[in-house]
Symmetry: C2
Subunit: 273 residues, 2 copies
Amino acid sequence: MTGDPYNNQPIGVFDSGVGGLTVLKAIRDALPNENLVYLGDTARLPYGTKSPASIERYATQAAAKLQEQGIKLLVVACNTASAVALDALRETMAPIPVVGVVEPGATAAVAAHAGGRHLVLATEATVRLGAYSKAIAERDPDAEVREQACEMLVALAEEGWSGGNIARAIVRRYLEEANGHDPDTIILGCTHFPLLKDTIQAVADDHVILVDSASTTADVVRAALAAQGTSRDSGSPGSLRLLATDGATRFARVGGQFLGRSLSYSDVELVDL
Amino acid sequence: MTGDPYNNQPIGVFDSGVGGLTVLKAIRDALPNENLVYLGDTARLPYGTKSPASIERYATQAAAKLQEQGIKLLVVACNTASAVALDALRETMAPIPVVGVVEPGATAAVAAHAGGRHLVLATEATVRLGAYSKAIAERDPDAEVREQACEMLVALAEEGWSGGNIARAIVRRYLEEANGHDPDTIILGCTHFPLLKDTIQAVADDHVILVDSASTTADVVRAALAAQGTSRDSGSPGSLRLLATDGATRFARVGGQFLGRSLSYSDVELVDL
């Protein structure tokens, strides 16, 4: 399908806010020729403390907005929305393929330690649904999984306090609350948490492997495009558009940390859902 | 106007979430015969990191929902919404009186220390607008005011970590960021922060007076009802209804801490805005 104009259509990446930019960055690194459009639903973040019905409604509206941009594939770069709304999104978006981050995260954890003890750090909503436990059990029936809600880690990452004594004390408290589990891997089950990777590794035992779903998700996206024959073949670098539902200035300031380069508010287009 | 049926109409109290229950509690303590209806916009909290345009839209929708309940007075028990949207709300709600929490908080601070140095702890949006600085300057031109954004304190209160080492370290860091100001009073400029009162007092110098707007707001409500002749004269205790836009279970769990008594999810009615 070389040269098929459909293949120039963008990949849509959706998150409740800026955390999903860690996933966007992994996709951009792995697939530099793809056109990308990112939507952060900053007007309604955080999703992690909201009810499943609200999360599903918000996610469906965000997906519809990206569908208007003519996307060829949707990445749900938000663990909470992936845990709650993936089935609903696949139904409404068909035939456009929809890739979540929970399943790639589970794949990465099982690859890192088969038959291991996995500790999932995530939002309240993700933990309540046990999405990681189910996805890991499907891939490795011998694995043990424990899920720990960590709302304060979201606030830490948003405030930019990812290192230092306070961050370490908060991480230590959550790991103590999951006490007795002695994990082999810690799964960063919220797109905010890769910013806290160094702190979490410093507090955890040395042998613990930290797993995040960003690079595995990029692998799944590559495979899905290949399977459909919709990879963009052009040698030119892909474009990137950033959309947000509120607060372009704050999106640029906080988002730059996640994307790993500085952003200005003029890089961000405000949209209504 | 004794016996006027209009006086049985409820007072409406609105907040972005559960924090405003500290204000509701003060009104209930001061005016036990008044019927009250509380609306927490939990589907869209927090307001403190959102843009002014979004905050104003959300606040106007919440006020309209309370107007449907036939309220005789509206209390905006959210510092962020008071700072951003009070003028707009007074315009749309007229002739129903609208009481915010910033002006009563400023009154309380000036009463606590005339000509003093005031440190306001608040959300990003409240600080950006300088609403406390303006309200205090109007009341006391000799006062010095500094405003400090403290998003992590919101997360602490929501997580129920209001005491202990982590809470103290976070409060200490914010007070250090406002360094050099050496305040006479600290104004709790977010309805979440009264939960952290003991911790803030423990970290601040002994001479610092902590000010919150809850009881002063109740005084203003009493005065506004008296001026209009709309106080409820019945000797029977007033009723209380709790409305929320999302997550009745979480509202009951977190809200109980603010209201100072346990709540069940069946005490909370879900509404759509």
